[in-house]
Amino acid sequence: MSIWEKLTAIPREIVIGLVIISMIIPTLNPLGLPIMTGQMAKDWYNYVEDVPEGSVVLFDIGYGSGGYPSLGPATIAVFHQFFDNNLKVIIMATAIEGSMMYPLIMDVVQPETKYGAVYGEDYVFLGYIAGVQTAMAGVLGDLPAIVTADYLGTPIGQIDILEGISGAEDMDLVAYMTTAGGTSEGWVYQAYSAYGKELLGGFLSMMTTSMKPYYDTGQLLGIIDGIKGAADMEYLTGNPGDAIQSSDVLSFSQTLVLIFIIIGNISYWGSRASRKEEI
């Protein structure tokens, strides 16, 4: 077996083992590398900065445990900005695990202690609503006709923030985070296309490429591009958290992947060349 052939066939256990090590080292010893913020996240941040105080935002938690490592930190950073700018936030969940994500997020954001926000006056959580696009269209079309209570069962008549909110016309901005393709396109269809609402979207990085045309055509005003976008938002809002720490891990593990890609290609061409020589 030539050296080239050996290099083309490194056993998977070794590759996977090295990848795990490359994730553990930077978690133990963070590097704290600088963050270069992307335009899509900057657009999101700047747009929210310019929204007048007291504006009403509808926010959708469209992910569950699988998406939390990327989108949880992003949601936390975004909420810091919302509460810092005194916006009124109506939160809903189109993902079935969304209502389990809500307490995880709020444990970190702590709107009461950090921003003096009051549940029911400054923000409310409506809970999980089944039906994805139907739920979106329902909340935007006629909120009191569909929602009867918040996630704890308090009737909406007793919730101050929802007073006078009858649907999209009383909301100033819609934002969402999701791991589902149907949800991310659904918000464009239901909020932008049907009601012309200003819309901000956050999703996994692997979805960014196919959602980008909506951003280019002004249907999405800003994008949070998975873990990278989350790190950008943490940096922009000045609330460093898990996403910035992840950046260090990405530095190590992706460098390793790049090295393996290079080894793979060199050995591929090397073994092709040496086979030609033999002939």
Binding site: I16, L31, M36, G66, L258, G264, N265
Partner: protein, 209 residues
């Protein structure tokens, strides 16, 4: 008229037309009707959430009674399902009780977070084994993939900012252009398939029985 087939097709058509009319016209009666349809749609979607569980009960119940291989795993699966339902409905507070938060945090959260993310290792090994510039097609894909990974890996832009700008440029131009073309095609494809479904030419959802 075949009530097993024609009436469902008529329902699909009617509901679809109301949804479309709600978007394009300003008639108050249409809007009011569609609001009811949306409310009903949410309730029906909620009802459909139990379908998977019933199916699991059937499949795994059969495996347990036949003592098929791994039948004890099937029993374990049903125990887990019943546990969640008992904790969720028993307290009367659904997902908001502290007991439910605990079992969710212990069981669902780690599994949901790990099942898909462990694909990272397949990604790593797959990139090494397969992402090779063997011909022009593969080379084109390879070259942008490498530059995007370089731009995404903070250690490179931190030293050479150019890597970051190359990634941004790839997204602005190449991704923006090609995916716009794909979007136009996908959009019209969805519309045509949707229309075929509404007019009863695409009837797969009715099942074959």
């Amino acid at each position: 008229m075949d009530y097993k087939r024609d009436i469902p097709l008529a329902i699909t058509f009617l509901i679809g037309i109301i949804a479309v009319s709600d978007y394009y016209t300003t008639f108050e009666s249409v809007k009011a009707t569609f609001t009811i349809i949306k409310n009903w749609g949410v309730v029906l979607a909620a009802f459909s959430l139990g379908l998977g569980a019933v199916n699991l009960f059937r499949v795994h119940g059969r495996r347990i009674s036949k003592r098929a291989s791994d039948w004890y795993l099937s029993a374990w699966l049903l125990v887990m399902m019943v546990l969640f339902v008992a904790v969720g409905l028993g307290t009367g507070q659904f997902e908001t009780s502290s007991q439910y938060t605990w079992v969710y945090g212990a069981l669902f959260l780690p599994l949901g977070a790990t099942m898909y993310s462990s694909l990272a290792f397949y990604m790593a090994y797959g990139s090494y084994k397969v992402l090779r510039a063997r011909n022009l097609d593969a080379f084109l894909l390879f070259i942008t993939a490498v530059f995007v990974i370089l731009g995404n890996t903070p250690i490179f832009p931190a030293n050479v900012p150019g890597f970051f700008y190359i990634r941004e440029w790839i997204f602005t131009t190449i991704v923006g252009g090609a995916y716009r073309g794909i979007r136009i095609g996908v959009g019209i494809g969805a519309v045509v398939i949707g229309i075929k479904t509404l007019i009863g030419m695409e009837t797969g959802y009715l099942g074959r029985r």
